[in-house]
Symmetry: C2
Subunit: 461 residues, 2 copies
């Protein structure tokens, strides 16, 4: 059936590039999760919106499942094809389509890398402010599919805020041209917003109009060492009160150990349990003084043990590397990842609860914490001991995630802050969304994708 179906697809779209070699199936069939064995039926690499529509129409008729695919840097299995699906890779649709100087928007194809978008914005003296460590490999289409967040959310919000227009091929094959770059448009349901964060289950993004903005003023980067967990949100309050924050990130001594072992340079001597990297506007002496005042108050109040302020761009980059290098430094340990959030007003109480939970449940396992604490977003990486099999390790982590989900539910948090639900967190969706919400989501899914061909099994079964 597969061979005949693919032959039919090739007949309909004679110019469509299709890959069926084993190496390609494995390469395109998975994302940064490594839990599933890739098994797509084939890889389609469309070069145009029309080809995407043709594939979706074919899939509807044939009842073939499609996995939309970008940079495959996802951590939730949203781009995994392990069930004989057709992978629809947007990697050939990766161009900048245009810049509008009055609107200050950049029109791009979905397969473009985030870093390429950054560069294109800079060419016009502007910035696209969403940013995170995977910038070189992740695609803007994937960013939209997960409403990607990252390290500048405290200042600029999530991807959602920066999408002025979206062209989407819905599950029924229709091309939707949503919002078209308008700033004000109160003309019925904002389907653009519904698409953002829908993980390829409602439609396939085939073009995006991104809003750009002025670069921020000159900034400073500071690394702070903190004596205990309670100090975290108090230091956050001190710095937010006096400064315009661009980022406020934290990590623990265990995270530091790994990133130093991976080649980063120590910046503060001694042993400290918690660290913060913060970046803030510092266009003038007044702002720099405000930062020093916040720092000194923190020291006086016993909230800050030590600190260093970058004196050059190179030193700023070195401080950032201590935070941004963590994920890469853990990769060889096959970490199990939780990406969770609560309201920032709930962070302190929540941290206490999960610290107790994690030290009880993982007594002999390294657990690395870090994250965007100024957004209430915490990344937990549980490192696999060499003595445990992959399967046993994941089973143990899933057990703890269930307890974590209960804790999140009590604190009104989310089981997925910025990575999406995908396959990895599907079983825990009910800790974050009520049965009534999930029922409505299923209803919406049926409206946009009546035959259930778009990324089936992701988000919910």
């Amino acid at each position: 059936m597969t061979v005949e179906a693919l032959a039919d697809l090739s007949r309909r779209l004679p110019d469509l590039r299709l890959l069926t070699e084993a190496g390609d199936l494995e390469h395109y069939g998975r994302d940064w999760t490594r839990r599933w064995t890739p098994a797509p039926m084939a890889i389609a690499l469309p070069a145009s919106i029309e080809e995407v529509q043709g594939i979706v129409r074919w899939a509807n008729e044939r009842k073939v499942a499609i996995v939309p695919s970008g940079g495959r840097t996802g951590l939730s299995g949203g781009a995994v094809a392990a069930q004989g699906e057709l992978v629809l890779s947007l990697s050939r649709m990766n161009r900048v389509l245009g810049f509008d100087v009055v609107d200050r928007t950049l029109a791009v194809q979905p397969g473009i890398a985030l870093e390429t978008v950054h560069g294109a914005a800079r060419e016009h003296g502007l910035i696209y402010p969403v940013d995170f460590a995977a910038r070189g490999s992740c695609s803007i289409g994937g960013n939209i599919a997960t409403n990607a967040g990252g390290i500048r959310v405290i200042r600029y919000g999530n991807t959602r805020e920066w999408i002025a227009g979206l062209k989407v091929v819905a599950g029924n094959g229709e091309l939707l041209d949503l919002n078209r770059g308008l700033i004000k448009n109160s003309s019925g349901y904002d389907l653009r917003q519904l698409m953002i964060g829908s993980e390829g289950t409602l439609g396939i993004v085939v073009e995006a109009t991104l809003r750009l903005t002025d670069p921020p003023p000159a900034s400073q980067v500071m690394l702070l060492a903190l004596p205990n967990m309670d100090a975290l949100m108090q230091v956050f309050a001190l710095f937010r009160a006096g400064l315009s924050l661009q980022a406020f990130e934290f990590f623990t001594d265990i995270a530091l150990k790994h990133v130093l072992a991976h080649g980063a340079q120590r910046a503060i001597d001694g042993e400290h349990p918690y660290y913060v990297v913060t970046e803030f506007d510092a266009p003038d002496e007044r702002a720099q003084e405000a930062a020093m005042t916040a720092f000194e108050q923190g020291v006086e109040q016993g909230l800050i043990s030590d600190g260093v302020i970058a004196q050059s761009d190179a030193q700023a980059a070195a401080l950032w590397r201590l935070r941004e290098g963590i994920t890469e430094s853990l990769a060889s340990h096959k970490p199990y990842k939780n990406d969770i959030s609560v309201r920032i007003g709930a962070v302190s109480a929540f941290l206490h609860d999960i610290q107790a939970l994690l030290s009880r449940e993982y007594p002999h396992i390294d657990v690395v914490w870090f994250g965007h604490i100024g957004d209430g977003n915490l990344h937990i990486n549980v490192l696999k001991p060499e003595t445990l099999s992959d399967a046993d390790f994941i089973a143990q982590c899933e057990h703890v995630t269930k307890l974590l989900a209960d804790t999140l539910h009590r604190h009104g948090g989310s089981i997925s802050a910025e990575h999406g639900i995908g396959l990895v967190k599907r079983a825990y969706l009910e800790s974050t969304r009520s049965a009534a919400e999930i029922a409505l989501m299923r209803g919406v899914k049926t409206v946009f994708d009546p035959n259930g061909i778009l990324n089936p099994g992701k988000l919910f079964i």
Copy 2:
């Protein structure tokens, strides 16, 4: 049937306040549009979420249509009850429920006036930045239902950006607690965003968590007189390049004539066809110099004929009154209103096209233009000549709106920038949203409101 149905409602909810007097039916049965004769079956004034749910469940069983109702300041007929509907007024649910200092959020009931929200934010040293002339009477629930915009969108965006959480009673009576104040939450479809701007057709907002922010720095207000239409967007470019704009509004000489006749003070002598009121950050001399530089460049380039900068808060208020007083100054002329938008990059070409259209189609009728031109949003008010009957006047205006909708379609614009579709623009929705989009919207409506009891006939039939 009505009497028996209402008796049943009272039996189920013995404490529910119900009004059935003719005066109340007229008062609550309409909004600021005056085109429809109010004819609700009754007015329900619930005092709690449970009462709202009870009403919605009763309406589902009885197949009674509900019109959710806030401050009824809408200009699109979204809150009109002219078909025997039950008006569900949120006016008794108008309290501040709480403030969180870490999250910097304000939890409010939907019936609270925008101006009361402003005051509550100020009490905590913060602002809720959405603002427009109806602030004293409009309700936050209505703002959410239409994704209200206003005069600060250029700086702060629309209502959509400021909603951290929404409690909503869906059309099936279920209470949804959407997003709960989280900054990052990538856990499936963002139903909160879908609700915003849905004009009461998917659910009834019963509580909102509003994000607050720091007050802007000290600002200055400037009035500019322009010699022609082409200068508008060029002056906008000059001012945006050098300044951090909080507002950039325009109006015409005809608008000025009306607002002066209504008691405002002339601030610039002579006859000028176009005026701009702009407000921008001016915390220091550098910013004030940048404003003077932009002004002088505009004068040198022949784009600005004259200007005045407010020297006091009172003078700033007087300049703002020239813009904000326009709507009120036109009210006695029973204006027919268009509220349209295009991308700001398309404003210049669009203005030329509609100027030609309006002068051809309304040769003997006063047409007043003004609006949020920095957002691409234009308000057109057509004044009814005394010699024309209401019906003939509206018929003529509807004919022109059809042509205007075609022009908007060519320029990729929207038939409703910030007022919503309601009853007034229902016939023109297809100029802004494709048939495929409308079909999807209908599908979504059915998911949330299977019996079609929520604001039927609004947005689409």
